[in-house]
């Protein structure tokens, strides 16, 4: 099947989308959005300088029609989500978003009901547009390089004024082998400092549930869960986290979950390997002390 990836030069995301594309075709084409050096070997590579779906959808629709792509693969990121619906209308094509798995017989999986259920689909017509959820497919190695052909864009309904990268101190959540996450049960922004202390001792990172983010206790990019980051640490400390299915969706790849919660009926214990039913204000300092004792 003639397959197209549309993504920025981010090699991690491109790698994940390349893994998906190989289920449909051994070698695909790519439209790279924005600037930067493109890694990987593709049949054809195009480049659009803009990354905003509204500005580029007409040109991309025309190109997809001209080249006759049957499967169009994007990521479930702000960029991919900004483009998928507009392309679907332009191409009169079905679209499946937030795809988490595709079997060898091309049955496509998508989580629904806050990841409490999984729906399975098969494609009945082409072209088909897919947006792929981050971290659910192993990133392919992107060897080689491919020259890109520029695609000019005629209109600019949206002007990008500024792009502000999050301040990163320490290990990024996506790469952390230990994550200490706080939920609403942590109670305040100040109380997150003790979680930071534990994370630092374990050379890990601090995350937050959506509830804690909504309270303003941590920045939005620290959110773990269905609409936040998907993480895959060796150990995941869930502190004062209730364990809503939407949060658990982001930690499905965590090897070991340690739940600390004073509510013995909290749902997080159903996902945990180890549980401590206690006020975290007692348990976390005790773990910190024990770690210091060990040295």
């Amino acid at each position: 099947m003639k397959t197209l990836i549309i993504e920025t030069v981010n090699s991690q995301i491109l790698g994940e989308l390349t893994t998906v594309s190989r289920l449909f075709s051994p070698l695909c084409d790519v439209i790279v959005l924005g600037e930067g050096e493109l890694s990987g070997t593709y049949e054809k590579a195009f480049r659009v300088a803009d990354t905003l779906g509204t500005n580029i959808c007409i040109e991309l629709t025309d190109l997809i029609k001209k080249e006759g792509y049957e499967v169009i693969i994007l990521s479930s990121t702000a960029i991919g989500s900004g483009l998928a619906g507009l392309l679907a209308v332009g191409l009169e094509a079905p679209v499946l978003t937030e795809v988490t798995a595709i079997s060898s017989d091309l049955i496509i999986e998508q989580s629904i009901y806050g990841s409490k259920a999984v729906a399975y689909y098969k494609m009945d017509s082409r072209p088909l547009i897919l947006t792929i959820k981050r971290k659910y497919f192993e990133a392919a190695e992107l060897g080689g390089a491919t020259e890109t052909v520029d695609i000019p864009v005629a209109t600019q309904k949206i002007i990008l004024l500024e792009e502000i990268e999050e301040e990163r101190t320490g290990i990024p959540l996506e790469d952390a082998d230990v994550i200490v996450t706080g939920g609403r049960g942590v109670g305040s922004k100040e109380n997150f400092s003790i979680l930071g202390e534990l994370a630092e001792l374990l050379v890990g990172a601090v995350g937050a549930s959506r509830g804690a983010i909504d309270e303003g206790w941590m920045p939005p990019n620290a959110q773990i869960g269905q609409t936040g980051k998907t993480v895959s640490p060796g150990v995941y400390f869930a502190v004062g986290v209730s364990g809503a299915s939407q949060h658990l969706a982001g930690i499905s790849n965590a090897k070991c979950v340690v739940a600390i919660n004073k509510d013995d009926e909290a749902n997080i214990f159903k996902r945990a390997r180890f549980g401590i039913i206690s006020d975290y204000k007692k348990a976390v300092p005790a773990i910190i002390n024990a770690l210091r004792e060990i040295g």
Binding site: T54, G82, Y121, E163, I276
Partner: protein, 251 residues
């Protein structure tokens, strides 16, 4: 200025996984219903814009007749009226086409807000489809917006930070949650007066479904046996935990 907020009534999204049941591939009808999680953030943003710009604010929904009682919460929060297009399809195209039908009865619209994704199907695709159908600009995952010189200055939350943009013309924005758009709790008086606000019901426009077959829906099995560590002496609890993590080679 006329602002539209899209809202969908969904089964209780806080039901724990262990209690969740499916009937004919959809959530059991026994769960209480409510406006979707992010849709409430979008309504809050709409109400803040209404207050700032003295705008009209309409909630447009595609769903069943019984959804009106739940959508009234949005009116109690500050919306002026509800337009409900009656239908039961889960198909995103059908939903978008019918929302467009409802919106087009309202005359000139300046901006359409939606939650970043519904709390049942979790697709986040309907706002983009609607923007495509209406030939509006579209920006997903915004957390702030203000009217500036006839256009919109918006802030989008991305995976790596923020993007500030200027959008000209009419637009659809999907809203993500931040502390500043935490849904307000309506006053009792507002809840009562919401019952008197107008509700316009429209019949569904029948559209061919998206050409994708849903084969099945299942509830994934999560097998995890939690080992509870005794907490009589918390220092000992911590030592046991670390020891167990090391024994099992997690640390």
């Amino acid at each position: 200025m006329h602002i539209v907020v899209l809202a969908k009534v969904v089964p209780d999204y806080e039901i724990p996984s262990s209690d969740f049941k499916l009937v004919e591939n959809r959530a059991h009808a026994k769960y209480k219903r409510m406006i979707g999680l992010y849709d409430e953030n979008a309504i809050e943003v709409g109400v803040q814009l209404k207050e700032k710009y003295a705008a009209d604010l309409t909630i447009v929904s595609y769903g069943s007749s019984g959804d009106v009682q739940f959508l009234r919460k949005g009116v109690a929060m500050g919306a002026d009226k509800i337009v409900l297009i009656e239908g039961t399809s889960d198909d995103p195209y059908t939903t978008a086409v019918n929302l467009q039908k409802g919106i087009e009865t309202l005359g000139e619209i300046d901006v359409i807000l939606a939650g970043r994704q519904s709390s049942d199907m979790d697709r986040g695709i309907v706002p983009g489809l609607l923007a495509g159908l209406m030939k509006y600009a579209f920006v997903p995952q915004i957390c702030a917006l203000e009217n500036e010189g006839g256009g919109w200055k918006v802030t989008q939350i991305t995976e790596t930070g923020l993007r500030l943009m200027k959008v000209t013309g009419r637009a659809v924005f999907s809203v993500t949650s931040i502390p500043e758009n935490k849904p307000r709790i309506p006053a009792v008086r507002a809840i009562f007066s919401a019952k008197k606000k107008p509700v316009e019901k429209l019949s569904e426009k029948e559209e061919p479904l998206t050409n994708i077959s849903e084969i099945s829906v299942s509830i994934p099995l999560v097998e995890s046996v939690c080992e509870f560590i005794p907490t009589e002496a918390i220092d000992e609890t911590a030592r046991i935990l670390l020891s167990r993590l090391k024994e099992e080679r997690y640390l």
